[in-house]
Amino acid sequence: MAGSIIELTGLTRRYGQFTAVDNLSLTVDKGEIFGLLGPNGAGKSTTILMILGLTEPDAGTVRVCGLDPTTEPVEVKKRVGYLPEEVGFYDDMSGLDNLVYTACLNGIPQAEAGEKAKRLLERVGLADDSHKKAGKYSRGMRQRLGLADVLIKDPEVIILDEPTLGIDPAGVKEFLNLIVELSREHKITVLFSSHHLHQVQMVCDRVGLFVGGKLLACGDVQSLASQLFGKSPYTIEAGLDLPGSHSGDSAANQLLGDIMESIMHIDGVSDIRKENLMIRVACNRDLTGEIAAVVISSGAQLKSLNKREYGLDDIYYRYFEGGDNND
């Protein structure tokens, strides 16, 4: 809507024989949180380095905020904040001093830098530790300090490369919430690279799936799911209890067969499987009500009914399966 802020076209980067990023084209819109999802070594970090101008592409172009990072790296770096995978600070300086140093490198006057750093430390919840040496910070605190460090230059875009690596689950949740809040508050575009599906699903508006240097699919989680599971995006699981089923009664099996038969006849059902007393129905729309009606009218008891929507997990694994099959 507001136009694109990062545009990559035909981006390629080779290391000798190995192609880290292969003809990548990608657009990130202003103000959105974009997730780069892929396994380790998929070329996510290389792409990020090229966006920042820290590595030159072999082919293709990068435009960030309308600028080319290879020729105008300083202008780009004024607008883009980057939090590397393992962010390093000067261990013998306090968290506050580390931030002030970054601020001064960004041309913020000393007095203002101190104020700003304090405000940001408070925002990321490190106000009490601001005078502690950065070497004594825990991993989660370092990442939060890193976030403050990225924000001190008032960036238009922030790039986070595996920012949640090595933080405990509670810390991750807090950290992700912080990112979302800050991005909404300051209207910052976020490029979030991760191999953690759930984290990406939690925060990102759109996701790009990255495997072997190629972008396999791109879109929000819903549209990715429908691209992949086009025929049957819904799975409904129904747990049954049949009279006499525990004694292995043949009448019970007969009843189960009948139920499955009539479910199969509902319009929109594409597949049905049973596992003991659980039946799993794949269908193209939400048929929970219809299935319940069939089960109850047959005389069996309905113990549970569960509708599953596809998450990024399924999409992820489905892609890797698909990728293997294509090779």
Binding site: S45, L49, T55, P84, V87, G88, A111, G146, K153
Partner: protein, 349 residues
Amino acid sequence: MDWTISITDILKEVTTMTDTPITNTAGKSRISERVKHPFRVIMEKEISDHVSGWRFIILAAIIALTCLGALYTALTNISQAVKPNDPEGTFFFLKLFTVSDGTMPSFMVFISFLGPLLGIGLGFDAINSEHNRGTLSRILSQPIHRDYIINAKFTAAIAVISVMLMSLCLMVMGAGLTMLGIPPTAEEFVRMVLFILLGILYVAFWLNLAILFSVLFRQPATAALSAIAVWLFFTVFYPLIVSLITKSIEPPATATPSQLVAFEQFRLALLRVMPNQLFSEATTTLLMPSVRSLGPLTMEQLIGALPGPLPLGQSLLLVWPHVTGLAAGTIISFVISYVLFMRREIRPR
């Protein structure tokens, strides 16, 4: 720890002091004047890191102590050093730097011996430690040019070294002044300042070599060891190799004078590959004005020459090639490390 704070405070004070007159004259640019150039920001940080670090304190203490020792031997032996009719009699004060009784080397020799250690000590982890701490990629993602980092590291180390050598030499001079009661002449003073500048250039050579190794090697320990290996090679092994080579091709006693001269020049050319040889020849010429030539002299050239000190200009002329050689070595290693650093891909850790 308080030490660090006090130094940064002092730096802050200095900047505000120097900034105030500017802001007063141009009221409008008050805010913009306060904004420090990123290069200066990095340099100030590097200097305060050096000065507050244990490494520099230890190196400075070693050098200061040995220089005190040298000063002591010089002061106790200076009375024997001056002989009647000595052509250097007028350069009495310079003897402070060159006199020794054989048990302890002179100040000049100490500087040529410990200078490399100082340069290597301040440079061997310039780039690789930043990389290993993961700070390099963070700093490089700030809006600065990449070469600011390597330039600022070099400039900061040189600034620290210059201040240290300069103050050390001035202290030796001051001590000599009070002990001997004879002030140095203007020419002596200029010669001493030139000696200090030469010393800074010499240390800068080793500093740049160390920075080069810090770009080449990921591990600071490897970089330090390689730099020390180069230093040991030049101080211990290279002279041995040169003497082996020259012994094997030494002309017989019956050789013609031109052959002898050619041989001697070849031997000197081999020796002058060593930066420490260049430095010691150059300092000797500067601090002992009676040295008239650094190569072989024929009898013809000596006949009729009056034994007397060379004027400053002539001494300078004599050491000019040496200075050029040292400067070239310094620049070459800096250029190599600069190019390597600029072309390297900076990955986080």
